[in-house]
Symmetry: C7
Subunit: 87 residues, 7 copies
Amino acid sequence: MVKIMANNKPGFIARPMDTLKNSLEKNIMIDVKGSRSYSGILEGYDIYMNLVLKNVSETINGENKGVFDKMLLRGDNIIFISPSGGD
Amino acid sequence: MVKIMANNKPGFIARPMDTLKNSLEKNIMIDVKGSRSYSGILEGYDIYMNLVLKNVSETINGENKGVFDKMLLRGDNIIFISPSGGD
Amino acid sequence: MVKIMANNKPGFIARPMDTLKNSLEKNIMIDVKGSRSYSGILEGYDIYMNLVLKNVSETINGENKGVFDKMLLRGDNIIFISPSGGD
Amino acid sequence: MVKIMANNKPGFIARPMDTLKNSLEKNIMIDVKGSRSYSGILEGYDIYMNLVLKNVSETINGENKGVFDKMLLRGDNIIFISPSGGD
Amino acid sequence: MVKIMANNKPGFIARPMDTLKNSLEKNIMIDVKGSRSYSGILEGYDIYMNLVLKNVSETINGENKGVFDKMLLRGDNIIFISPSGGD
Amino acid sequence: MVKIMANNKPGFIARPMDTLKNSLEKNIMIDVKGSRSYSGILEGYDIYMNLVLKNVSETINGENKGVFDKMLLRGDNIIFISPSGGD
Amino acid sequence: MVKIMANNKPGFIARPMDTLKNSLEKNIMIDVKGSRSYSGILEGYDIYMNLVLKNVSETINGENKGVFDKMLLRGDNIIFISPSGGD
């Protein structure tokens, strides 16, 4: 038995886009094709999972590569997104 | 002779999205391009097979790589999804 | 001279999706990108060729890799599907 | 000066899908990404170039790999299709 | 200052699909992903750049590989098409 | 609690396309698949993230490769875009 | 403050397709996936960035490979397009 509601409690379907909405202004980690990952604060997104991030650090093949004040990350290269703290 | 019904008994067509619906709140294994797999509890999904997972463990090339409280996994890198227990 | 009819006799066009419908509850072999193949009983499908399978065995690079009670296999990695017996 | 007509005589445009229609019940060769080719009798197709084939032989890297009574071959991996005899 | 007209004289926009129309019944060379090229007479095409060709010779990695009476070449692997003579 | 407004202050969703609008006439860095990056002044864009740039310098595998007065960069190869200064 | 107008002066958004329109009958350089580039006169284009070119020279891995009177270059392999002179 499954109920759909707007909130996020156990027993309810969590919609993928709601995970992004709940992560706004919080730190997230984004795993990207090509052994890349990005960590930063989510400022915005659209339905393609294009993300606006601030205070971003970039890791390629496990090495710290750069720091960016602001970044627009295209959604189509993303493998997964993980909120850093409790959602 | 094929009949289509909402439930999932032998002799009836199982719709792919119903497999996800029936796996909600249960543990699933997801095989992903690039020798990756993820195991966690399915909290939600959308029509693109984007998945919301919790208590996720990541395996890359057979090695345990990480644990994530929560994850939004993009559907377009998925090869297959397997429910862990009886559906 | 070509006639289109709902059945599947010689001289009539076989529609690709009918091949899936005729394979329901039967064993099929699925060849997938990345030197993978899957063999199992077809329980369902959708227009994207996403498949619901049961009693699935997985072969990667010619080696038996795993057995799955149930699997949702994404259509977009499939190269071909072959019914095991007469269609 | 170009005229468009339903038949296929010299001086008229041959529509790609007509090439498939004219190959029904005939042997065709299909070249597929990944150094694969398939040869078999075309039983059906759809607008995505998904093909239904029977009596199929598979060649990978120039080696005979298998024989299949029936096959549903996805269109999106196809490089070209060649009718074996005169069209 | 740019004018759009149906013909193809200097100073007018040449529409890509017109290049195909003007090449009907003429020899063209098609460069395809994977170090392949095809040379043959264009008999037809559709809006996806799927091509119907006759008297086709295939070159892979600079080596002559085969000759085909007729071929349906999928448009999505094409890099470029070049008419052999003046258009 | 999330509010959506046209401006860009903390606490409001930043839409990805607004990041591009706010970068017009400013220097941006674009990371592109294939170990490439481009730095130049953004003159325009469309909904596909195709960019018009001027005074562009190209870096491939960490080496300066070229300078371009003007460039139309296709959006579908972009990994991320980063404004150089404060947005 | 951003104004949108049909011309191309500083302070106005340059639309990507306008860059192509302004390059008609002029020489452009096209960088293509697979270490390829093409240089020639732009005769036409469509919304997919498919280009009609004349007097084209091809460079692969830095080596001059061929010259083509006329070419239809598919848009989906293009990385960037650069007008040779002032736009």
